[in-house]
């Protein structure tokens, strides 16, 4: 078992390295190329006046391709990391923040790559990889003792429901991260009108599609959590802070979906709500650190 746990960590390490490479490539591709041009002019008197101007252009296509390639490497290594960990633990990697975050990176990358393939847009990767990399840095910051596989405490000993409840949460959070990335690029595009970024309409659509996947998923998270709570604690809803934080997140995305049918709200205002929504996701994700209540054991 120990070998598998180590192997899982080595795969995560390799995935982190691939992630750094992918992040740099995507960032370069999205920011674009800056060309400095120096022009010189000779005057009648003889001295030369020179001036430097900057020209912006789309990023190198190769950078985008390398970004995708490295991101796929990261997907494979993260996938192997959670596979080895699952075999070692004889359950899904969902029992603490180390395992949950490992799985989150894998699902986030995978979902992003699917969006990239469907929409044929790579610039979104600059934001998504930043989130994935931040999550990897968080994992590295966790105490080494958390890399050990711990047995489940009695409250968590419900493998089918734990797998369903936590994996749907990861799916929901990952798609919301993609919608956040689309909203950020949308706001940049609306303000700056960058020619090599995807159109505002497409970015709006990516944000919406991501939410249409994540919103039912988060509803499912709440329902599966209720079923589990009913089985373990005797009440399907107890106003536990983690429960209500997830409900808050769900309501924010509910507001987003309703605003899209309002004149004057679709576009910038909806994108701002996506930013608030993702802040709510982060709040719910890390809530274990500062919430009391029945989910407190899920922290560290």
């Amino acid at each position: 078992m120990e070998t598998l746990v180590k192997l899982s960590f080595y795969c995560f390490t390799a995935g982190s390295i691939a992630l750094i490479g992918a992040w740099l490539c995507y960032l370069g591709y999205a920011v674009g190329r800056v060309r400095l041009r120096r022009s010189a002019m000779a005057t009648a008197e003889g001295p030369t006046i020179s001036a430097t101007t900057a020209e912006f252009g789309p990023g190198s296509y190769s950078l985008g391709r390398f970004g995708s390639l490295l991101a796929w490497f990261a997907v494979v290594f993260q996938g192997l990391a959670i596979l080895f960990r699952s075999i070692a633990a004889e359950r899904g990697p969902y029992s603490n923040m180390y395992e949950f975050s490992l799985a989150f990176i894998f699902v986030l990358l995978l979902i992003y790559m699917l969006f990239e393939r469907f929409y044929q847009v790579k610039q979104l990767g600059a934001i998504v990889m930043t989130i994935a990399l931040a999550m990897a840095v968080y994992i590295w910051s966790l105490p080494a003792s958390m890399r050990e596989v711990d047995a489940l405490n009695p409250a968590l000993q419900n493998r089918p429901l734990m797998t369903l409840h936590v994996s749907t949460a990861i799916l929901a959070y990952a798609t919301f991260a993609v919608s956040f990335a689309a909203a950020v690029l949308f706001l940049i595009q609306i303000k700056k009108n960058v020619s090599w970024l995807p159109s505002a309409e497409m970015l709006d659509d990516i944000g919406f599609r991501a939410v249409t996947f994540g919103f039912p998923m988060l509803a499912l998270v709440l329902i599966l959590g209720s079923i589990w709570a009913h089985q373990a604690w005797g009440a399907y809803w107890q106003w536990d802070p983690k429960e209500t934080a997830a409900l808050f997140t769900w309501l924010v995305y509910g507001v987003y979906l309703h605003t899209r049918s309002l004149r004057g709200w679709r576009g910038t205002r909806s994108a701002v709500i996506l930013l608030i929504g993702f802040a709510a996701v982060v709040f719910t994700y890390y809530g274990n650190y500062f919430f009391g209540g029945m989910h407190a054991y899920g922290g560290v």
Partner: protein, 509 residues
């Protein structure tokens, strides 16, 4: 114009009608719904933060906010009037909105408007135009067949020399919004039914060997045969298990060994493993040999001044007019040893007898009793039979649960159908091509500001091109729906984009 004036004067509306109409419009308003959901979200956030240290961080950073933070912690948000009020408002809005929208949506499904205009087709964000040598009548069959193969319903109408076409798919998915919204009301109904007709005991405590009645008119009682806990080498708990026997009207009806995730149910009543603790089995008799108590006293629910660190319990014997205060040995002698005035050894139990009632004496006779021995305390003989344990169960009966499960199913299914089977609509006009005996087909999707719908339309247009054996001219016009929010620079660019793409239409094939 004159006719309109006559109509208005002929049907004046009463103030009541106007008020009802405004209330109705308020509940149907999406803008109002957004505000209501946003208020609900803010209240949920306030309630969530109340369960965390975050408000206290605020008070620590700005001491002047401490009274505000104290009130925040004291406010039961989820039981408050504003919270219940906004939930009620939202429920009414959902119900009213549903009633308001059903006829319209059903009409668009059953009797959609087929007739369209060239103005719509030519100003649409995206359109496709086909020129074909085949006469319109012959082309219509191929067109319909091709669209039907792509799961579209096709309806046509003849208007003069033109045939107007309406095609849609996933039309019934539009109805999925209703079960989803009604599910939200059902969840609230489930909560109300559970609260009104169910019950919940959070601290249902049974010592080993004891039987406790559930009450609430159930006729049920539960016996704890044995409680077992197992621990891992690293000191973490592996399992808490209670072996229970359930009696209904005194007759055993079920035996089950329950754990935290494995409760015992009988009818609507369910027993959940919640916690456990230490207990002392005592037998108390009076001078005449009558048994006043022969059961276990749960420990750990109280503390006693003689040793605040030690688990203590209280047992009232009403028929004897006394209360037994029972104190176990200190589990952690190293902690504040000066408070441990009893100095009990392992295997001992300290029992104090205290009279209760208005004329109770201040005397409190007591004794430390060794396990298996009997001590004379006051007028009673108290035997410390053995150390035992109790289990703490939660007992709940919630008739709202089936409603909740149905609502959950409707909610997820409604959302999934709404989002994963989007309704797609296409309008078109088939006519004679100008100046030839062939035909001209103009199609446009109802897809304003919908990138995915436009993408799907392009795929449909390409497939139609295969069927009709002709390449379409696809015209894309940049959407200017967000121009009010675009910066001046972006606006100029968007206008340029619109001109260039609409003039330079591009061929798909």
């Amino acid at each position: 114009m004159a006719q309109a004036t006559v109509d208005k004067t002929a049907l004046p509306r009463s103030p009541l009608e106007i008020i009802v109409d405004r209330i109705w419009r308020f509940f149907c308003s999406v803008r109002a719904a957004v505000v209501e959901i946003a208020i609900l979200a803010v209240l949920v956030l306030i309630g969530t933060l109340r369960g965390s240290d975050a408000p206290q961080w605020l008070a620590n950073a700005i001491p002047a906010t401490q009274p505000f933070v104290d009130r925040w912690y004291a406010w039961d948000v989820f039981g408050s009037l504003p919270f219940i009020g906004i939930l009620t408002l939202l429920s009414i809005a959902i119900a009213v909105c549903t009633i308001n929208r059903v006829p319209g949506i059903w009409n668009t499904i059953a009797n959609p408007t087929v007739r369209t205009s060239r103005g719509f087709l030519r100003s649409a964000d995206l359109s496709a135009t086909y020129q074909n040598a085949t006469p319109p009548e012959a082309l219509l069959d191929d067109l319909s067949t091709s669209l039907k193969k792509q799961r579209f319903r096709v309806i046509t109408e003849r208007h003069g020399e033109e045939t107007h076409l309406y095609a849609d798919k996933n039309r019934y998915a539009k109805l999925a919004t209703f079960p989803f919204h009604l599910a939200l009301i059902l969840i609230l109904v489930g909560g109300i039914v559970g609260g009104r007709y169910g019950f919940r005991e959070n601290e249902f405590l049974i010592p080993e060997g004891s039987v406790r009645e559930v009450g609430h008119g159930t006729g049920l009682s539960v016996e704890l045969v044995q409680f077992r806990d197992s621990w891992r080498e690293d000191g973490t708990p592996a399992e808490y298990r209670s072996d229970l026997v359930l009696y209904e009207d005194g007759q055993p009806v079920q035996e089950k060994s329950i754990t935290v995730n494995n409760p015992m149910s009988h009818g609507m009543v369910t027993f959940y493993q919640a916690s456990y603790g230490q207990a002392a089995t005592l037998r108390v008799t009076d001078d005449e040999g009558r048994t006043l108590f022969d059961d276990s006293v749960p420990l750990g629910l109280y503390t006693h001044a003689n040793n605040p660190d030690a688990p203590a319990g209280v047992q009232v014997l009403p028929q004897a007019g006394v209360q037994l205060n029972v104190i176990a040995p200190d589990n952690n002698r190293a902690n504040a040893p000066e408070l441990d005035t009893l100095n009990l050894r392992s295997g001992q139990m300290y029992v104090q007898v205290r009279e209760i009632g208005p004329n109770a004496s201040d005397e409190r006779p007591s004794a430390a009793i060794n396990m298996g021995e009997t001590a004379r305390i006051g007028n009673f003989n108290v035997e410390f039979v053995r150390e035992s344990r109790f289990t703490l169960l939660q007992v709940a009966s919630n008739p709202g649960i089936p409603i909740f499960w149905v609502a959950s199913l409707l909610l997820v299914a409604g959302l999934a159908i709404t989002f994963y089977f989007p309704n797609r609509r296409i309008r078109g006009i088939l006519s004679m091509a100008p100046g030839s005996s062939g035909s001209q087909l103009e199609l446009a999707p109802l897809a304003k500001r919908d990138w995915s719908a436009k993408r799907e339309f392009k795929i449909v247009a390409e497939k139609l091109a295969d069927t009709l054996q002709t390449s379409p001219m696809i015209t894309e016009r940049a959407s200017v729906s967000d121009t009010s929010e675009v910066s001046a620079e972006g606006r100029a660019s968007a206008a340029n984009d619109s001109r260039s793409t609409s003039v330079a239409s591009k061929e798909v094939r």
